[in-house]
């Protein structure tokens, strides 16, 4: 079952994202993004979760959080957490994440971007689910932090996924919740 699932990976981008004034910023790492998304990704059989930030200090922080649960005290205290954090790779930009994920696949990695708003030409979750059925076609699912990935990110991604909608006009999921729901829709049941 593993080779079939390994063609999906997640990248969490801390740049280039908007703040609430639509200025392009680098966000700070959120500890629970690291834990929650790693645990969800591992639960749905993914082998890779890329944490992407251009800040060398923030990459160092991501490595320290990860290592705390992989080595020494944290690993012994909670081995399940270790298994989840083992799939994390920390990268300085999206291209490095794509390059890493490309290893082991002959076909080119395609990026799939998601966000809270609808874009023209978006594909449905069912479409991506179908694309993922070919295990030799790798897809990297991009999530943004802050107020979302920039327009340029959406324009340059290979696919845009329709946003998760709930029961009405309110649609403000955390990135941790959105990633969990998207993985369940793509890999659950």
């Amino acid at each position: 079952m593993v080779p079939l699932l390994a063609n999906l990976a997640i990248a969490l981008l801390h740049y280039p994202v908007y703040n609430k004034h639509r200025e392009v910023i680098t966000t700070a790492l959120t500890n629970l993004d690291v834990h929650d998304i790693a645990r969800s990704a591992k639960t749905y059989g993914l082998d890779r979760f890329y944490i992407v930030t251009p800040s060398i200090e923030q990459r160092g922080l991501a490595q320290r959080i990860t290592r705390h649960w992989q080595e020494g005290w944290g690993a012994a205290y909670n081995p399940d957490r270790k298994k989840a954090l083992d799939i994390i790779r920390v990268c300085d930009d999206l291209d490095s994440a794509i390059d890493d994920f490309q290893n082991g696949f002959d076909n080119t990695v395609k990026t799939v971007i998601t966000g809270a708003t609808e874009w023209p030409g978006s594909i449905a979750v069912a479409d991506l689910k179908q694309l993922l059925e070919k295990p030799d076609n790798p897809f990297l699912l991009l999530f943004g932090t802050g107020w979302g990935l920039t327009k340029e990110c959406f324009e340059s991604a290979d696919h845009i996924l329709k946003p998760i909608t709930g029961a009405g006009s309110y649609n403000h999921l955390s990135v941790r919740s959105a990633a969990a729901i998207m993985l369940d829709r793509l890999r659950g049941l």
Copy 2:
């Protein structure tokens, strides 16, 4: 559409739950549980999210977090967050949460408990989804913190929901992710 959705509510219990040594404890409040579950609940059209803890200090903390985003600086900074946190009610025990939710319904509130392990007599998400189609039947979905709700909680709940399973044997979602996925399965699409 709102009356149809209002018959589902969530309660997050901080007692009685196990720690990793299967001792019954009261867990401390996690700030992002409050935010993430409120945002997911609001997105899926719920009117109530109960935060339940017997600790008066912890209830005070829950109130302070909520009020920060409902009044003054937080409310002006992020009105969407205010809308989500408005559905929170802080209670000292499960009975108080049930009593509050019972208001407005003639039919008795039924509790539905969820966790990471399978119990005999569990019902599927599809079964609960069907039960929820009658808008006058209220259901309160219980989530535990720590290492999960006690055996007695599972034995005394009206329904036990089958656990969310992923791709293999690893199944360690955060309560924030589990709540998001369960709401999507019950109310999404």
